[in-house]
Subunit: 238 residues, 2 copies
């Protein structure tokens, strides 16, 4: 489906898109936007063993070493812009441009490191509608039947045949956290956000790893729907 749409993208069209991106960069306007922010709940006596941190994942990409070289040139490595909340994870300085089947582009999509053994693009539904991609709701790494996309880097372009998803809301948990909340890997919790745009998110998937710190990830649509920035209280509930 996307492959067909992309056939229509001839060299001239791609050149025009690239020119557009360059023009946008030159004047400092790089739509559409991404907002990355998070919120940490206040610690309470007798409360959970670890502070509840909710972070909004703006659109981003994970990449294999091979794909990184296609986009950024032979021998390319990810360089760290800033550390993320999970140890070892980082926002890289590397940015790519996505080209969707509606011949619209999203520039300045950040690669999150380190490199992985699959390439994956995580978008919000707002992004998906913009690009013309019907995003499947998936846990990271589950790419069966997912759509592809064309990605442009400074040294080359790449067309994935799968790997574009909306990430399922999830919470990273260690054994200590799972014990406290009484859940196991793969279970679902609710995330309650109080505030002017209060929301309870169902189906927040528990993702266990022995070395993670407690962190909920929602996407920009969800972060904007509940106006996470103005939240007055947050809790994970069963």
């Amino acid at each position: 489906m996307i492959a067909e749409a992309l056939k229509a993208l001839d060299r001239k069209e791609v050149e025009r898109l690239v020119r557009e991106v360059l023009q946008q960069k030159l004047r400092g306007a790089t739509p559409p936007p991404a907002r990355e922010y998070g919120k940490q709940a206040k610690a309470q006596a007798g409360g959970p063993p670890n502070p509840l941190v909710v972070n909004v994942s703006a659109r981003h990409m994970h990449v294999t070493p091979e794909h990184l070289e296609i986009l950024f040139g032979k021998g390319a490595k990810l360089s760290k812009m800033k550390d993320l909340y999970q140890e070892g994870e980082f926002a890289s300085e590397q940015l790519v441009t996505l080209v969707g089947p509606r011949q619209r582009i999203i520039p300045n999509v950040r690669i999150l490191g380190p490199v992985r053994n699959y390439t994956q693009v995580e978008l919000s539904y707002t992004d998906g509608i913009y690009l013309g991609i019907d995003l499947p709701l998936r846990i990271s790494g589950n790419h069966e039947g997912t759509p592809g996309i064309t990605i442009m880097g400074p040294k080359g372009a790449l067309t994935l045949d799968k790997g574009v998803i909306r990430a399922e809301r999830h919470t990273h948990m260690s054994t200590e956290d799972m014990n406290y909340y009484g859940v196991k890997d793969g279970d679902q919790l609710k995330l309650k956000i109080d505030g002017p745009c209060g929301v309870v998110f169902d189906r927040v998937r528990v993702r266990y790893h022995p070395k993670v710190v407690l962190e909920v990830h929602i996407d920009t649509d969800e972060g904007n729907a509940c106006d996470l920035e103005s939240a007055t209280h947050m809790a994970l509930i069963k």
Copy 2:
């Protein structure tokens, strides 16, 4: 704040923006997108007197007759593209372009009719971040301390000094509906959306009018966060 930012928008810059819009129109690509859709709950025996309808309000504008003439020329009237769910309300054929303080534009913003005694622009937080406007959360018509924006029409441009909001989630209700749910005008209910991206929205404001049909309005961020299209069940609860 916005006025200052707009001072920087000289004639040349505006011309460039207009050219950009025209180019986008010519090739049929008009980012960013707007999705307008709704969902109606299945009727149940012993259930509410009226079917629960939830509609997503994409970004739009209401306009005074005076502002309509500035944008579309002397004597301009709104022409109907399609009826909305509330009797007498309609999506017009008239589209405008918004220019925000980050010198980014949103083209193809639809005017909803009929004309009103105030001009108002309703955007999602995603739109606000894109344009660089910190949107206040308001009930329609409450413009005290709200930001302005520049609006371009085919015949002229206009800079509002206020009237740009994120609309509070709300439900239109008649007396019959308020009696059934046990609420009065201005009260708040919760809207429960079940499905793969299930959400409970707090603070859905009750807006009474004797002649309305039961209808909840949420914005595109909220509609995308809960993936309203894939909802399996919906309910208003206290």
